[in-house]
Symmetry: C2
Subunit: 65 residues, 2 copies
């Protein structure tokens, strides 16, 4: 399976948001909808800092200010 | 391997940008750097319209106007 785990960086630390993310879609400005392989959904506020698909990693950064 | 293929929607049609994308990083406002599993790089101008990792698909949309 080729899903990825999503993390958000807050105050310099990575926090796991969701495992096994299948779908990622924009849901507004700097808002993203994640859907995992089980169909569970989460909304993330932040910008995409990077992805490394071979490492199964999606990294968001929380908006400052 | 869990890389994905990147497409851009222009005039309603999907065009393949890059196969076997490993890394995706922001490179400015609505500019993205893609790196494939061979280390080749491409710059994409557009916004992320969606990703479906299980289907190995990253979809960009060209900026209009």
């Amino acid at each position: 399976m080729c899903e990825a785990n999503a993390y958000i960086i807050k105050e310099g630390q990575e926090h796991l948001i969701m495992k096994s993310v299948d779908i990622l879609e924009p849901s507004g400005e700097n808002v993203w909808k994640l859907v995992d392989i089980f169909g569970d959904q989460k909304i993330v506020k932040g910008c995409i800092k990077g992805m490394n698909l071979v490492d199964h990693k999606i990294l968001f950064e929380a908006q400052s200010g």
